[in-house]
Amino acid sequence: MSEELDLTKLPTEEIVLQIKDDLYDGLAAEVVAAVKELLRRGLTPYEVLTGSLVAGMDVVGADFRDGILFVPEVLMAAKSMKAGMEILRPLLVETGAPQIGTLVIGTVKGDIHDIGKNLVAMMMEGAGFKVVNLGINVDAEKFIGAVKEHKPTLFGMSALLTTTMPYMGVVIKALKEAGLRDDLIVLVGGAPLNAAFAEEIEADAYCRDAAIAVETAKKLVALKRGV
């Protein structure tokens, strides 16, 4: 967005388009300004989130998948969405925006890579899930503790290393032993994973990227609830 652009003079639908463009270009300050302007005009935080930020990130996700955008651009877009979310998060709570369910997510033990996992967490939050992000290097005990405490619908694990991905199987086994597995939809992701691996460790789905994680989560939650 150019510096001389006066948001107050733009029609609302143009500001929405502008937010999507600014997200795409990774312009956090501009996204924040436009979010504030839409709220000032009386749009609900939920409308701003879904109609502008999430819709904008969907375009980013699709272009990443199609090889048009690369990781740096996606991260800059994500930082911009995060900046917009900082404004919206407290307002979403205040206004009682709809929540689809809870997701407990973490990067497995021995692994400190969290870029993809954090993108998933942010996109899931944008899609209306309450997200409990356990961070990196999470062992089975901590995962199980979080499941007992937060009683999530969804359970997500991430790993970037060939050497750490088998630990996902260890966690799923531990969830089974604790009698918790059947209540959860287990999603896994990370560069070295694939659908066959997810099936082998008895996860419910492998998600190739954040946008697919959201899509899969919504679909499986709806199926589970018989919607």
């Binding site: 690369f70 740096p72 991260l75 930082k79 400190i112 050497t163 560069a191 070295p192 694939n194």
Partner: protein
């Protein structure tokens, strides 16, 4: 008997050095190392090289790790009946049995090899967009605690490059002269067989 050593571009220089050292009757056919950014494409690229090699060579050995292919490279090689040097990735090969212990001690270790020290500017700074967006450094590397340079050759200019890389990441550097580690011992065994 002539052997084709189909090697990842990140290992090609080292495999050439081993070929010269051990006087193997072999040629090294490289596959672009940048495919690591899109590991899905590695099996297909290796398969192409295998087909080319089979027309000319008596034996084919693939010098790759699993390299993020999630077992797809090994599935392809099993179907093709081609051997691969063992190991999940080059760090494990070079670290010669010490990789897991190093990771257990410090999961936030960023590894460099000679190849990565040489190519850090291109592969990390440029490819990850750090030159354009220096503010992304913490998004990528905040969880790392140190850089370990697993050095193959003992060259001060490579150590200087590793020092520069560590400074660029804002992390302390540890230099470990490992040579070719298990890459050499495993390949020597395979070439003997």
């Amino acid at each position: 008997m002539r052997t084709a050593l189909i090697a990842c571009g990140a290992l090609a220089r080292e495999v050439l050095a081993l070929k010269a050292k051990h006087e193997w009757q072999a040629d090294v056919l490289a596959v672009p190392s940048l495919l690591h950014n899109t590991p899905d494409r590695i099996p297909q690229a290796v398969a192409r090289r295998i087909r080319e090699a089979r027309a000319v060579f008596d034996r084919v050995i693939v010098v790759y790790g699993d390299c993020g292919t999630g077992g797809r490279l090994d599935a392809l090689l099993a179907a093709e009946g081609v051997e691969r040097v063992a190991g999940p990735h080059c760090y494990e090969m070079y670290a010669n049995g010490q990789f897991q212990a190093m990771m257990d001690r410090a999961p936030g270790t960023f590894f460099l090899t000679d190849y990565l020290a040489r190519s850090f500017d291109h592969l990390v700074v440029e490819r990850l967009g750090l030159a354009r967006h220096p503010e992304l450094r913490d998004d990528y590397f905040a969880n790392y605690t140190k850089v370990v340079y697993l050095a193959q050759e003992d060259k001060p200019e490579l150590v200087a490059k590793a020092e520069w890389a560590a400074r660029a990441l804002g992390l302390p550097l540890e230099v470990v002269h490992v040579g070719y580690g298990a890459l050499e011992s495993r390949l020597v065994e395979m070439m003997k067989a």
